[in-house]
Each structure stands twice: as C-alpha cells, then as structure tokens.
C-alpha cells in the first residue's frame, strides 16, 4: 500500500481535527451514514458557485455554457470512475433512494414488471432498496420474494429459487448494517440465466471498492455522492443504455422533453429523460472532484485500507466481553461497517456515552428493520470506517465501549 498515508489524507479533512464538547478530539466513525468531505471537494463547489454559477443547458450566455460544461464534466468523471461504457448511462438523481425509486417506477410503467411476475430482493436491504419494490409490487400486482440471511450474516442464496417469472432481482452489494459484501457476480449470473434484470444498490460499495459496472454485468447500479467524499443532494443511477432508452420517464418537467404541445410530449434521450428540472449542478462539480480525489488515492488502496482497519477493529471488538458483533466476525468479504450490541445497555445509550467521549457512531435500526428482526434485535450500534480512519480511533472506540459498560454497570 505505497502512497496511502492516512495522516496526510486527514489533513485534507479539516473537520477531523475538530474538538467536541469537553475538548475531546472528534473520532468520526459514522462514514457509512455520510462521509466527511475533503477540502478539494468543498473548494470545487465553492469555486463553481463563486465563478461559474448559472443554470445548465437553457442559458445561452457564457456562464451558462461554463455551468453546463462543468455539470456534464461531473458526469464524464463518474462514468469513467465506474467503468460505464457510455456517459449517457449515468443519470443524476438527488440520492440513491431516488435512483432506486426511479428504476422501480419505470420498470413498472414500462411494462417490464406486471401482475403475476416476481420481484426478488433480500432480507439484507436498506429500506431504500425494499420499499420501492414493495410499492412496485402493490402497483402492478407482482409478487415480492426475497433471499434470506444466514446466522453469520451472509446472503443465503439457497433460500429462494429464481424462475422465469422473476423479472427483477434487486440486491445490495455491501450491507450497510452487517458490512457483508455480497456475491453480486453470482447473483447477476443466476438472474440473467432466467432473464431477470439485476438492480444493485451500491451505496456502500462504490465508496469502498473498485467498481466496474461493465465487468459486473448488472443492468442498473445505484449509489450516492455523499458517502464517497462528495456532497449531499446528488445520487447516481447507472443503467444499461438500451434499457434506459426503452424505459419511460420518471418525473415530468423541464429538461426531460424533446418537444411539448398542450396535448402531448415526446421525451429526450437518456440521461436527460430521467433528469426533470434543474439538476444538481454544483453537486455534480463536487462529485466530480470527489471522484478525482478517490482516483488519485487509488480505489485498490482505499479498499485495502478499509480491509485492514476493519480487520483491526474486528479483532479488538471480538475480544471484548459483553460485546456481540451482529454480522460477519471475520474480515472476509466484509466492508467497514460493524454493528454490535452491548449486554445490558441499549444502543442509544451506547451512542450517547460514546458521543460524550467524542466518538461519533450511529445507533438505531440503520434503515434496515427487517434485517434487525432476523437477528432478534430491535437496534444496534454501528461504527463505520473510511479512508481517513486510524487505528488510534478504533482504540478510542474500544476504550469508549469499556467506559460505557462501566458507566451502566453492565
């Protein structure tokens, strides 16, 4: 891992040198929720607003041309980053949830899913890759089925059999709660064998892993900017061009049309067909800068660091009496999110105590209530790591957990 210098990287993130209440240094272990942003991203957004701001595509002046170019450059960068065969396959949305809702909606409206068809998800989904499919099933009369999860926190691919009735398989690449990295290539193979489309929720994958959508072979991939050192307010739906070209629009409005009369409208080609209204312009600039930042570090290095810091955290936390990790306990096919429970202390109280030590984690159901039910817990505490996380921060987490246990007499 030459050239991956965490201390140097941390200097790009001024927020990481902040102190919290009681003059404690911030230990930010909530990156699966949202990542912090490097100076390079914030400055790119600032420069855009201060020097190039205008609306895109419809402003016939010089600033409009600059803004349009900047916006579309963000698309080019994202397309290159994920190995998209064509830049027109990258649709900007407001977040990953909207990207997933978009694809679920237009697959129904476009007649790709209908009554009696089957949509398959997993018990491991974030609500944003479950609820849109429930809604699609309700609208169309399709049946919703799912793969279960093993006690270890892996996908149980034997728990459901795909048939020619299966039209869509929607699955998360990396679980936001368990950290599990799913065998997406195998799922794509099985789904395509029966002619089903594959939708991948890559919200936790694109930030951590090198991603090549062409090699992956899925039909749609959704992710969000703010978890990959980019800004909030921008998500991405990548889709195979022939599918995007076939499918009807999602939202109607400006920018998504070809021509409009009072009676009817014809629609623009992808990606603009799916981008009604003023798009996230400055956010595209910021996401482009984020992608540049990650590319400079090298996604193989980011992934290797994630792996190494997760292994360090797992080995420390596995040793702690009274602490149970919910999800894979070995650093194999595993991302940098560790959910856990502490005997006798509710997760909210754990998070509160850790916060009092400056350690920021998430507590609750992490938008994955059905998955928590699988493990018989109502909520968990989750620590999640990223390219700026240090071993010293994991040590602070462990010390915080010990402090919490003694505070509550657990």
């Amino acid at each position: 891992m030459t050239g991956f210098d965490v201390e140097a990287i941390r200097k790009d993130f001024p927020i990481l040198s902040r102190t919290m209440a009681g003059d404690r240094p911030l230990v930010y272990l909530d990156s699966a929720n949202t990542s912090q942003k490097p100076r390079q991203v914030v400055e790119a957004i600032e420069r855009h607003y201060l020097e190039h701001n205008a609306n895109v595509a419809r402003a016939m002046h010089q600033l409009g041309a600059e803004a349009s170019e900047a916006f579309e450059l963000g698309r080019d960068k994202v397309a290159a980053f994920i190995g998209a065969p064509r830049r027109e396959e990258v649709v900007f949305t407001k977040n990953a949830s909207e990207a997933l809702n978009l694809v679920a909606r237009v697959l129904g409206d476009g007649g790709r899913v209908g009554a009696g068809d089957e949509v398959v998800v997993t018990q491991m989904e974030h609500h944003s890759n479950l609820v849109p499919w429930q809604l699609l099933a309700q609208r169309t009369g399709a049946d919703l089925r799912w793969y279960g999860v093993t006690p270890e926190g892996r996908l149980d691919l034997d728990s459901h059999t795909l048939t020619e009735r299966t039209k869509v398989v929607a699955v998360t690449w990396v679980s936001n709660m368990l950290g599990t990295i799913n065998p997406v290539a195998e799922i794509v193979r099985r789904a395509h064998e029966v002619g089903a489309l594959v939708v991948i929720d890559a919200s936790q994958a694109v930030p951590q892993l090198p991603v090549d959508v062409a090699a992956l072979g899925a039909d749609f991939v959704a992710f969000t900017g703010h978890k990959m050192v980019g800004p909030t307010g921008i998500g991405v739906l990548w889709g195979r061009y022939d599918l995007l070209a076939e499918l009807p629009p999602f939202l109607g409005g400006g920018e998504m049309i070809e021509t409009v009369s009072m009676e009817r409208t014809t629609f623009a080609a992808p990606p603009h067909r799916f981008e009604a209204g003023t798009p996230p312009i400055a956010q595209s600039v910021g996401l482009g800068a984020a992608v540049d930042y990650l590319t400079d570090l090298g996604m193989e290095n980011v992934a290797a660091h994630e792996q190494q810091i997760t292994a360090y955290a797992l080995s420390a936390m596995n040793e702690l009496p009274g602490v149970t990790i919910v999800g894979p306990k070995e650093p194999v096919d595993r991302g940098g999110a560790i959910s856990f429970t502490i005997d006798g202390v509710h997760p909210h109280d754990v998070a509160q105590l850790l916060d009092s030590q400056g350690v920021a984690v998430r507590a609750g159901h992490h938008c994955a209530k059905p998955l928590h039910q699988c493990f018989g817990v109502q909520s968990t505490t989750r620590a999640s790591f990223y390219l700026y996380t240090t071993e010293a921060e994991i040590d602070a987490l462990v010390a915080g957990i010990r402090h919490t246990q003694s505070y509550f007499g657990a």
Binding site: M20, A21, G22, H372
Partner: protein, 151 residues
C-alpha cells in the same frame, strides 16, 4: 449544553427506573390499547389504559427502547395511576413543557416528582423524543378510553 456531561442526562433516578421499571407489563382490564413507535430509532411501546370513571385506574405497558424511554414510562406510571384524568393531563402538560423547554424550564417537583430528573434530557434534543414516547402513547390511549367511557 455540554454533550460531554452525560451525568446531567443519566441521573441516578433515571437509571433506577430503567433497571427497575414501575408498572411494567400488560394487564387486564383496559379500555384502550395503543402502539407507538419512534420511527427514527425504532423504539416501541404498547400501552394500555384502564379508567374507572374519571380516575386512571391502571397504565400497563410493554416497551423496547433506551434507558430514557424506559425510565420515562416507569415515571409516567408513578405519576398518573390513581389520579383523576384531568390532573394527570395537567401533569402530562408539565412534563411536555419541561421536555420541550431546551433546558430553560424550572421543573416543579410537587407536580413532576421523579420526573424532574428528566430536566437534563431537555438539553439533549435528540433524546427528547425518547422521553416523550410513553407520554404521547398514554395521551392517545387516555383519549380513546375516555371516548369509550363517554359513549
């Protein structure tokens, strides 16, 4: 507010109620049963109210949640059972005012008894909803039970 000062939040009284909740469990008879959730964190409570005329004869509950929400349900039970509905609603208002007062409201111990321990919670905005979960469930249930009594 100083978020490092968790002792203001976790008063001994709160931890006592959390470890030894008063009136926990679901009991018969009851005039109304409600189920309230806190959608952001997933805390849940099922709560029953039994009225005898205008008196709160019993409040029984089954809940999953953090120390603050559990202790709050226990204190609720202490404060409203045996009281006249109107008096209990006055207590609810006092508790709600304390919780939503951002730490600026001076609690009246005569009215709130152990509930004054929650004054510190008001300084932690993210936890106010934990403290109010059982109270809002009770308010809902008592309205339903009263409507039934009247009909």
């Amino acid at each position: 507010m100083n978020a490092s000062n968790v002792d203001a939040l976790y008063q001994e009284i709160i931890l006592d109620h959390y470890k030894h909740p008063h009136g926990a469990g679901l009991r018969e008879p009851f005039g109304a049963e409600v189920h309230h959730v806190n959608p952001t964190c997933g805390d849940e409570i099922t709560l029953r109210v039994h009225l005898e005329g205008s008196r709160v004869a019993d409040v029984s509950y089954d809940s999953v949640g953090c120390s603050i929400s559990q202790a709050s349900a226990s204190v609720l039970n202490d404060l409203v059972v045996g009281k006249d509905v109107d008096d209990a609603l006055t207590t609810l208002n006092a508790f709600q005012e304390l919780m939503q007062g951002r730490g600026q409201v001076e609690p009246d111990e005569d009215v709130l008894e152990d509930g004054i321990a929650f004054a510190g919670v008001a300084q932690f905005p993210a936890r106010v909803k934990c403290a109010l979960l059982s109270w809002m469930a009770w308010k809902d249930a008592v309205a339903q039970a009263s409507a039934k009594e009247d009909s």
